[in-house]
């Protein structure tokens, strides 16, 4: 691990051990949420606790509304965000990302018993819901050159699922993991529509500057170690029963 207490972060306040402040919405199970004890819990939290151990730094979590997290990031009130942020070209223009630690894919969700929709081509002439902040809209648009798919954006994932169940829309596209978990948790009569459509990589964004570059390097090293000693896989198994941390 990284021993020298040289990691100084902009938001660190505590004396002694260097610390890093990680922002999270606390509203995205099972990645980040409040458990029965009222404490932050989830995949992201476990990953960061482990990173902290490996880097020998204090990890401090801050919760805020998702859209607020980026203001906090930009203004230096937090150092990074742990909230399943997908890496895209556009985002890379603004932020520096650590190495991917989750590999996922886009997944269609349909009403139970609907065997019509299995892939993007089945969506032609249909209504499909996507969540705000996801990249599924551009993913579908890229495929749908002839503009035949009706895309509806939702502020709230659960709202879009309700609409599929009620029959207002035909399908929802979301993260594969989130899809599986939500179908089970929501109790709505839904099912997965075919296999996942594409691959996505998620990681932690940092404000682009020299100091952060050094930190990112150390985080990458810690993630590498976690992959090697299998702790990353263990955390994934604990939350999902599968390994989402490798391609």
């Amino acid at each position: 691990g990284l021993k020298e207490p040289e990691v100084k972060t902009s938001a660190s306040k505590k004396e002694g051990k260097p610390s890093i402040v990680v922002g999270t919405s606390g509203g995205y199970h099972p990645f980040t949420y409040l458990n029965n004890e009222g404490e932050l819990d989830g995949f992201e939290i476990d990953v960061w606790k482990e990173i902290g151990k490996k880097m020998d730094i204090e990890v401090e979590f801050k919760t805020a509304e998702f859209s607020g997290l980026f203001g906090m990031l930009d203004s230096g009130k937090i150092d990074t965000i742990a909230n399943q942020i997908t890496i895209t070209e556009e985002r890379k223009n603004k932020y520096e990302f650590a190495s991917p630690y989750v590999y996922s894919g886009a997944q269609l969700i349909v009403k139970e018993g609907n065997e019509e929709i299995k892939s993007l081509e089945d969506l032609m002439g249909k209504k499909v819901g996507v969540s705000l902040g996801s990249n599924y809209e551009s993913l579908i648009r890229e495929y749908d050159k002839s503009n035949e798919i009706n895309i509806i954006t939702y502020e709230d994932f659960i709202g879009s699922l309700q609409d599929v169940a009620i029959g207002r829309i035909d399908a929802v596209m979301n993260d594969k993991l989130a899809a599986a978990i939500n179908i089970k948790k929501s109790g709505l009569k839904l099912q997965l529509g075919g296999d996942s459509v594409s691959t996505l990589e998620n990681s932690f964004p940092f404000v682009n500057n020299a100091k952060n570059k050094a930190i990112i390097e150390k985080i990458n090293k810690a993630l590498e170690e976690m992959a090697k000693d299998n702790t990353l896989n263990e955390i994934s198994q604990k939350w999902f029963g599968v390994d989402v941390t490798s391609k």
Binding site: S67, G68, F70, G71, D74, S75, G76, T88, E90, R91, N93, K94, Y95, G129, L132, G133, S134, N135, E137, S138, I152, T153, Y154, E155, D156, G159, S160, Q162, D163, I166, G167, R168, P205, V207
Partner: protein
């Protein structure tokens, strides 16, 4: 440190403006229906019209007391379970039904207080010349109460303007929703919100200008 990307702000304007008609139509229609609902409720409460008074109280307390988002949820996701026909109601429809019912509750209070502010002698004089209560309301009391209500109704209008964004939870994408979608790809929340704020502000300024004209007119009798 936040470095505002002004280029970006300018770029997204046309995209945001393409949704302005949704925001505006939602606001105006809801305002219109809301004033009607609010006026009815206001009258019922001022004149304590028997059975209805209690109902009006409950209505107002529910719609003011609970978050609009819950009301929209119930309307859009809850109602179809009770009345299946409701499943056909579009998100847009549901949004403006919800916004109308909600703003109606707020306006009821404003209208109630402005009717109460009118000297009782005005109603008496109207009754004494043979008007019915309703004629007196329409001809004498309302026009005077309206003058007092305008600033409060203006408050409701600008609140409503911004609350239309909640319709996004139902999938209606008005200005703010559009902004969020645009910014989601880039995470330029700050810039987007600023651009949205400018649009809202311009709408509000236009409306405030109209409001001040109305007020001036209503004040002629009192200056």
């Amino acid at each position: 440190m936040i470095n505002l990307d002004f280029q970006f702000i300018i770029e997204i304007f046309p995209k945001l403006l393409s949704s302005v008609h949704i925001t505006l139509s939602l606001t105006l229609i809801s305002m219109f229906i809301g004033i009607f609902v609010g006026t009815m409720l206001g009258i019922i409460r001022v004149y304590k019209i028997k059975a209805l008074d209690k109902l009006a109280s409950i209505y107002i307390s529910f719609f003011r007391g609970t978050p609009l988002i819950v009301q929209l949820f119930i309307l859009y996701y809850g109602m179809p379970q009770i009345i299946p026909k409701f499943a056909e109601v579009s998100a847009y429809m549901a949004a403006f039904i919800g916004l109308s019912l909600n703003s109606g509750a707020y306006m009821a209070e404003i209208i109630r207080s402005s009717i109460n502010a009118i000297d009782k002698g005005q109603m008496e004089a109207a009754l004494s010349v043979g008007m019915t209560k309703w004629q007196a309301m329409r001809r004498i009391i309302f026009p005077q109460a309206f003058r007092i209500a305008v600033p409060g109704l203006g408050n409701t209008f600008v609140s409503l303007l911004k609350e239309t964004s909640l319709a996004f939870v139902l999938g209606v994408s008005e200005v703010l929703a559009k902004g969020k979608m645009i910014s989601a790809a880039t995470y330029k929340f700050f810039e987007t919100y600023l651009a949205v704020a400018i649009i809202y502000w311009i709408i509000t300024l236009t409306f405030t200008y109209i409001q001040s004209k109305i007020e001036k007119r209503l004040n002629t009798a009192y200056s």
